[in-house]
């Protein structure tokens, strides 16, 4: 088989073997519905409570504040729609940023059509939310601030603590999309004064189709999915036992040696970034040089279009992405890259490599060898590059 190097861990991760092993019995042996009172059910009730406790502990929450959902997008939708529905008597203003994930952005845009007002705060050239602007945009009728912990495209980590304090001071509910941050930074919902936090298991070597919403006790929020009495009557649907068990195991593994994980990823990331910037003229790093996810390397390569790069990399077995996976159906340049001030052309020629626990130094070396060749080939074809060379 031809060489395959996966560098798209922010899109999704392979499940760890321990996670799969933990899940397996629950598919066809210990498969009962945890809401059933017979022993097939009871034995699984205990099992999901255990997973709940493990995950709650990793964010310093209590087990009765975390609710399983069908994924990160559902968690974001629930948090935002749930809070503004609960508080619509109190106000109609929401604050978010220009670089949120689409699960937040499109939800906010939908709410605008429903009569809510949304401020999309700017970010600086590194992708850090403008705190002054955020503060100034707070109004008496602001009911929700929703800011992501770390960006999925450029990896920038936000000053969540400062925003949490601001929100607290003004008594505004604070939601944080931590789908990308989880497993890569230590998150303490109490210290950070977070009211709601979204997670998704498949970004941390857990299963797809399972997420979580932390809801701080006392937070006003209505349900997104009505029905049965599961999740303390707040999220209906037969509990996804294998996925919950897998999420619990993935959470345990992620936080049992966070430092080791971060060190491994940061080393490889920096090697990749420095190597690429050195070998490829007219390239630049997107996002913050240090306040960034340990595995994220987002690079703009001028005078080439991103898809041509992606396809060429794919031909030599290297998998990465331009922008986020969920927007790759679209032809518009990334809203995140536009928000940090890139021109259309440069935004179009951007690549996101995301490194994970299974990435080796050879993988990075392979990219450092192949990508410059590809860039050179594509630039030879580019009418834009011609001029640059001519001019120099």
């Amino acid at each position: 088989m031809k060489k395959r190097v996966y560098l798209d861990y922010s899109a999704t991760t392979p499940m760890k073997q321990e996670v799969l092993n933990a899940m397996l019995p629950h598919f066809n042996v210990q498969f009962g519905n945890p809401s059933s009172i017979h022993c097939f059910g009871r034995e699984n009730k205990a099992v999901i409570d255990q997973a709940r406790q493990i995950i709650a502990k990793t964010i310093n929450a209590s087990a009765d504040e975390v609710f399983f959902t069908g994924g990160g997008s559902e968690s974001d939708n629930w948090a935002i729609k749930g809070v503004v529905s609960a508080l619509k008597g109190k106000g109609k203003h929401i604050i978010t940023s220009k670089i949120e994930h689409h699960a937040v952005l499109h939800t906010c845009e939908f709410l605008e059509k429903e009569g809510f007002e949304v401020t999309f705060v700017d970010v600086d050239e590194f992708g850090i939310v403008d705190l002054n602007q955020l503060q100034r945009s707070i109004r008496p009728d602001t009911i929700l601030i929703t800011i992501m912990y770390a960006n999925n495209e450029i990896g920038t980590i936000q000053p969540i603590k400062e925003i949490g304090e601001l929100a607290k001071k003004h008594n505004i509910t604070f939601h944080v999309d931590a789908v990308q941050a989880y497993g890569n930074v230590r998150i303490d919902v109490q210290e950070l004064k977070i009211d709601l936090l979204s997670l998704s298991a498949h970004k941390v070597y857990g299963p797809k189709g399972i997420g979580l919403l932390y809801i701080k006790k006392g937070t006003k929020i209505i349900q997104l999915i009505h029905g049965g009495a599961q999740e303390k009557r707040r999220r209906a649907g037969t509990e996804n036992v294998p996925a919950i068990v897998g999420f619990g195991k993935a959470a345990e593994l992620a936080y049992q040696d966070l430092e080791g994980h971060v060190k491994h990823l940061t080393f490889l990331r920096d090697k990749l970034i420095n190597g690429l910037l050195e070998k490829i003229p007219y390239s630049r790093l997107n996002g913050h040089p240090t306040k960034r996810l340990p595995g994220n390397a987002n690079i703009s390569i001028e005078y080439i279009e991103g898809e041509a790069l992606l396809l060429s990399l794919d031909m030599v077995g290297i998998a990465c992405s331009s922008g986020s996976a969920c927007t790759s159906g679209s032809l518009d340049p990334s809203h995140v890259l536009m928000a940090i001030g890139l021109s259309h052309e440069v935004a179009h020629g951007s690549l996101r490599f995301t490194i994970g626990d299974f990435t080796s130094e050879e993988d990075v070396d392979y990219v450092l060898k192949e990508l410059p060749i590809i860039v050179e080939r594509l630039r030879q074809m580019s009418p834009l590059y011609e001029k640059v060379k001519g001019g120099n």
């Binding site: 074809m381 009418p383 834009l384 011609e386």
Partner: protein, 146 residues
């Protein structure tokens, strides 16, 4: 996503480059949309004897440029003007719906280069009727299926 033919032309594009003292040069597209196509023609006795291109764009843009140059090489100007984007796409065993506009770009690039040749030589071609090389081909949303 792409046919084997598209990938083959993308990886081994034909006729990449420039022609010095070309008889006709055309450029279409807009870097803002992530694509520019530039086409160079050498024309002798009404026949396209050489053609080269440069493209900044996606895989499909590169492949359609390459295919278009192959399809007009050695053809008369009238034949080249009758090249449609559909024909280019078909020759590549089809394109995904969202990528059809890249083939439009290829058709426009050919027309634009011939237009330049016609301007320089004071010629008229039926196939150029209604063609405006400066028209802003803001094509990015037209083929969106929803």
């Amino acid at each position: 996503m792409y046919s084997e033919k598209v990938m083959e032309h993308f990886m081994n594009p034909r006729n990449v480059g420039e022609i010095e003292n070309a008889d006709g040069v055309g450029q279409v597209g807009n870097p803002k949309c992530g694509d520019i196509m530039k086409m160079y023609l050498k024309i002798e006795d009404g026949i396209i004897v050489d053609v080269k291109f440069k493209t900044f764009g996606c895989g499909s843009a590169i492949a359609t440029s390459s295919m278009a140059t192959e399809m007009i090489m050695g053809k008369t100007i009238d034949e080249a003007l009758s090249l449609t984007n559909r024909a280019v796409a078909d020759a590549l065993d089809g394109l995904p719906p969202v990528k059809m506009h890249c083939s439009v770009l290829a058709e426009q690039a050919v027309k634009s280069a011939i237009y330049d040749y016609a301007q320089k030589n004071n010629l008229q071609f039926d196939g150029l009727e209604g063609f405006d090389p400066n028209e802003d081909h803001d094509h990015h949303h037209e083929e969106h299926e929803d």
